[in-house]
């Protein structure tokens, strides 16, 4: 009896010891990390050049998994002392690779995050990059709240109404200028023309949560010169969505896109239609869907036809700039971890420079990965028609800021995505939706 009591006690004690040991190590690691980083900031130059070093890159955009690995290989051939370990997130995986790696104790050297993440979630993550050579080749370097450049723009992306050129030209009888659709009525007229030409459902509206919230529902922020000013008003509770014309205008257009009359999925507008929508528009059974340049990967799987972007009209005023522009801007921002070793940081900087200046890197970025480069010195042009359409729009000044960069995409996706979907499914009124967005801002 006594013996068993003692042994239980010993077991408990052992457990407690392990627990306290855990707590103890926790504190010391945290401290040693901060020590490291201050040391790093003090003497970044004290790095031997050819010491072998391994860097860990956490990428977003799972579509490019194989390509990232190719880039790492090419880079390593040219820099034999650097080993690059690439991690890529899966498409639609809401848990980012960076978070997953960090929470499991890995110190990621170079991380790809959303532009908003540089300002919010990862605001203490990156090192100062303002001294880098590539800064002068781009207008899209990302600054932190203090105005220091910390983010490297990996790509330019945009979204709007993707259309199948062949189908639309067949319907309008001749060449078609997507920017001629600059009012909602003109969009309706186009839908009707398409139907008259035999396309039963002109729109295949895929209503994935991220698309209807992060992309579609952030567009109204572009009504101000600086979208942040509206975000600030929302936070202060002084912006009334329900009475805002632009905000309502976008949902009037959304109602049209999701309507039973024009939408292939109008009878049950919410569902898993991503692949079906792209197949339909790719094959020309429908003509239009709402998505970004990355949609080409899916469209291409079924058809090599050519595609372009129509601006999303918000009202019937042809002079409203919102009706005449598509959304485009820097996305996928690389930041370098301040907790990485100085040697790793240098190697990561080399990798970024490789993407901007090295011929192989330039070729990889634009020709292989079909990414629109944010850097003026890159001589290549993407051949992917949706990317090309964005590049042309940028050159002609027909773009407005990538509105998603002004929201917290993770929150919007998980908190507001379901709300917008419920609106589309007519389970929530527009007032409810306005209320939901406003209270998201005021309650945080």
């Amino acid at each position: 009896m006594r013996k068993t009591f003692v042994s239980v006690l010993v077991l408990l004690l052992a457990a407690v010891l392990v627990l306290t040991a855990c707590g103890g190590t926790g504190n010391t690691t945290a401290e040693s990390n901060t020590n490291n980083s201050t040391a790093t900031n003090n003497n970044p130059s004290a790095v031997a050049e050819d010491e072998p070093v391994t860097i860990i890159i956490a990428n977003g955009k799972g579509e490019l998994t194989a390509l990232y690995e190719q880039a790492a290989k090419d880079f390593m051939t040219e820099n034999p002392n650097i080993t690059v370990e690439v991690h890529t997130g899966a498409v639609g995986d809401s848990l980012s690779v960076l978070d997953r790696l960090t929470s499991s104790g890995v110190v990621v050297t170079l991380a790809m995050v959303e532009p908003n993440g540089v300002l919010e979630k990862y605001k203490d993550f990156g090192i100062d990059l303002s001294g880098e050579r590539w800064v002068e080749e781009t207008n899209d370097a990302i600054k932190n709240a203090e105005g220091t450049i910390v983010g490297f723009p990996f790509s330019i992306e945009g979204f709007g109404l993707v259309y199948n050129k062949q189908v639309v030209e067949n319907a309008v009888g001749g060449s078609f200028d997507p920017f001629s659709i600059n009012t909602r009525d003109k969009l309706i007229a186009l839908f009707d023309q398409l139907q008259a030409s035999g396309v039963q459902y002109p729109v295949a509206y895929q209503t994935e949560g991220w698309s209807v919230s992060n992309h579609y529902s952030s567009q109204f922020l572009n009504q101000a010169e600086d979208p942040n000013s509206i975000v600030n008003q929302l936070k202060a509770g002084t912006f009334d969505l329900a009475s805002n014309e632009v905000w309502n205008g976008y949902y009037d257009t959304m109602d049209l896109l999701a309507s039973e009359q024009y939408n292939k999925y109008g009878e049950r507008p919410i569902g898993q239609y991503y692949d079906d929508a792209h197949v339909s528009v790719g094959k020309g059974e429908s003509a239009i869907l709402f998505n970004g340049n990355w949609a080409f990967d899916s469209l291409q799987a079924v058809a090599g036809d050519s595609f372009g972007f129509i601006p999303v009209p918000v009202d019937n005023n042809p002079d409203n700039p919102l009706n005449n522009k598509i959304v485009a801007g820097p996305t996928n921002i690389y930041i370098i971890n301040k907790d990485a070793t100085p040697a790793q940081q240098e190697a990561a900087k080399k990798y970024l420079n490789w993407l901007v200046y090295d011929e192989v890197g330039q070729d990889w970025l634009v020709n292989k990965a079909q990414v629109i480069s944010a850097f003026k010195n890159n001589p290549h042009k993407v051949t992917n028609p949706l990317g090309a359409a964005i590049a042309v729009a940028i050159a002609q000044g027909k773009t407005m800021p990538f509105s998603t960069n002004y929201i917290v995409p993770g929150d919007w996706f998980s908190i507001l995505g379901p709300e917008v979907q419920q609106y589309i499914d007519k389970r929530k009124s527009r007032e409810d939706l306005a209320q939901a967005i406003q209270s998201y801002y005021t309650s945080n």
Partner: protein, 287 residues
């Protein structure tokens, strides 16, 4: 002394691994709920019961809990009824019954994740094609886009997967019923339905205790299937409690609240399974 040596030799490894995997994290989990912590690497701060208060006020947590309870109820009934029916059919003395038994068990070999993908293909691509070709209105539109149908899709897939497993347990129970008991009732003039309800089922209570416990526990903890088949959609209407906790902790970066919700889940599961086992053991004794 020698006894201590043997004790350590025989039970030591299990004790160590059990402590590593379960005991320490479980005890530590309670401690974590008292801490304010966004991510595992962020500094901890004592917060008292704040995490529990926030968990209790988290409406979405209770929505997902309520949904899970509905799912638990639906799957327990359907999995056990289907499993029992299959067991009854394959033990009715026909030829080829081993073949049927083997076939019905097959879905158990598939893990929840792949299971979800397979059935996504069925619900999103195959059934609508079928509905259109045969004019079946119920199938024409994808099930996963409707909150109600998506829930039933989860239930159907669960039944499809686990009925075979329960069937095996029922078969074990059925073949252990002494023949003379059944024969005696046949002589008494009972028809087959009466035999089933008055003799067989009461004798099967021990098997039901196991199958109900297993389906209860599996249903409360469902994650992989939920994640892969509906992803919680449409609009979070099928997000069950495990998925909610995973998102709370790892996506919304709210470790403290996520862990508090996980502990509440544990308490609920413990109480429900405890009550179930207690009452069914009682039934077993009296029946």
């Amino acid at each position: 002394m020698k006894r201590l040596g043997n004790q350590l030799f025989f039970t030591g490894p299990t004790m160590i691994f059990f402590s590593i995997a379960l005991l320490i994290p479980f005890v530590y989990g309670f401690y974590l709920t008292l801490m304010k912590m966004a991510t595992p690497v962020s500094p901890m701060e004592y917060a008292g019961v704040e995490n529990y208060l926030r968990a209790i006020r988290d409406n979405k947590f209770w929505d997902s809990m309520w949904l899970t309870i509905k799912y638990v109820g639906a799957t327990i009934v359907l999995v056990n009824v289907t499993g029992f029916a299959l067991a009854y059919l394959v033990t009715s003395g026909l030829r080829k019954q081993n073949f049927f038994r083997t076939a019905f068990f097959t879905p158990n070999l598939i893990g929840g994740l792949v299971l979800g993908y397979i059935w996504q293909f069925i619900f999103v691509r195959s059934l609508p094609t079928l509905g259109e070709k045969l004019g079946v209105e119920l199938f024409r539109l994808g099930w996963l886009g409707d909150a109600n149908l998506a829930f039933w899709a989860l239930v159907i897939v669960t039944v499809w997967q686990s009925a075979g497993y329960m069937m095996i347990i029922f078969i074990a129970g059925l073949i252990s019923i002494p023949r003379d008991v059944i024969e005696a009732s046949t002589i008494d003039g009972a028809n087959s339905w009466q035999r089933l309800t008055r003799m067989t089922i009461p004798l099967m209570v021990p098997a039901f205790v196991i199958t109900v416990f297993l389906s209860l526990k599996n249903a409360f903890m469902v994650y992989d299937l939920n994640f892969a088949l509906t992803g919680g959609g449409p609009y979070d209407s099928t997000k069950m409690v495990s998925m909610h906790v995973v998102q709370k902790a790892f996506i919304e970066n709210n470790y403290g609240v996520g862990q508090a919700e996980a502990i509440i889940l544990f308490v609920i599961v413990a109480v429900v399974t405890g009550v179930q086992v207690y009452y069914s053991k009682k039934m077993e004794v009296s029946g």
